[in-house]
């Protein structure tokens, strides 16, 4: 499902946005720090603030995220379904280290503290 080209677009160089929708049908769109590759059928996002995106996926598990390749600005849109959260795992530790690196580059070490890795199943992928 997730190709090698897409993995490059998931490095966080070009920020991704995630669309969600609460149980009352109000859409929300937000930038995310990074979309993490878990395996060919799963991705994860970092939960730093328990923000609106996270609250929405607890109510309605469906989400839509875009990724952009920094090499040629190719773009993919992924339809996702929330699977589970991880707070103690290899994935969590790996994401925590990557997030610290991103935060350090942007001078936002105090802002980006990982609370959980939110794992999604990839339902479909469209290359734009």
């Amino acid at each position: 499902m997730i190709s090698e080209d897409m993995k490059i677009a998931m490095k966080g160089i070009v920020p991704s946005t995630m669309s969600t929708c609460n149980s009352e049908g109000v859409p929300n769109i937000s930038y995310i720090s990074q979309l993490y590759y878990v395996d060919e059928n799963h991705v994860a996002i970092s939960n730093q603030f328990f923000n609106k995106t996270i609250r929405n996926i607890r109510e309605n598990p469906l989400a839509c995220v875009n990724i952009v390749s920094p090499e040629d600005f190719s773009m993919w849109v992924l339809d996702l379904k929330y699977s589970h959260s991880e707070t103690e795992s290899d994935l969590f530790e790996q994401m925590e280290m990557q997030l610290e690196a991103i935060a350090s580059m942007q001078g936002m070490e105090d802002v980006f503290k990982l609370k959980a890795a939110e794992v999604f199943t990839v339902l479909s992928i469209n290359k734009i």
Partner: protein, 192 residues
């Protein structure tokens, strides 16, 4: 009370309630009250921000609450409480279907140089094939983005790879604005 009777009463009640900030809805022979949001003023700083070197996206959803994403390739305030934005026509079908069904718009913009970020939520008004002036806005946006991206090390011209012709332009009324600049305590609703 039967459905027809409720419908008759609704016509009168909606007239009375529309100025009070709530509306009554009929579903399965029951009446429920839904508060609606009045249009919100976009201040001059945000009007200027809207035309900055911002990454920007559109969030909509369908009748089954499935969210959808579109890249926005130009946006600006079209009035004190309305925004016009442009998306590529080749990616627009689902968004237009969603907007016709439920009118709910969510637009996010983040400045690529300083990460200042806002989300604008509101109600769809209309859409049309972009005019020559709106196409010029798209060209202007791409040129500004290209210059800014070069400054942060992105190869010259890459941004033009995003689909951007033909395009459609959508207008919506802004009802809520949230600050989303990454920082502790972000996410607050901006007061009018």
């Amino acid at each position: 009370m039967n459905t027809e009777c409720i419908n008759q009463e609704l016509k009168v009640l909606i007239q009375r309630c529309v100025y009070c900030g709530f509306i009554l809805c009929l579903k399965q022979n029951t009446i429920s009250i839904h508060y609606f949001l009045a249009a919100m003023q976009i201040n001059e700083d945000l009007k200027k921000f809207l035309q900055g070197v911002n990454g920007q996206g559109l969030g909509t959803r369908d009748k089954d609450l499935t969210p959808s994403y579109n890249r926005i390739i130009a946006a600006k305030a079209s009035g004190n409480n309305t925004i016009k934005f442009t998306i590529a026509k080749q990616t627009a079908a689902q968004a237009i279907k969603n907007l016709r069904e439920n009118k709910m718009v969510s637009l996010v913009q983040a400045n690529i140089l300083n990460f200042e970020c806002y989300q604008f939520k509101g109600s769809y008004i209309s859409h049309h094939d972009s005019t020559s002036e709106e196409k010029a806005d798209v060209e202007n946006y791409f040129n500004k983005m290209n210059e800014a991206l070069i400054k942060i090390g992105v190869q010259d011209g890459l941004v033009y790879n995003f689909p951007h012709d033909p395009t459609i332009t959508i207008e919506f009324e802004v009802e809520q604005i949230f600050e989303q600049t990454p920082k502790i305590g972000t996410g607050n609703l901006i007061k009018a």
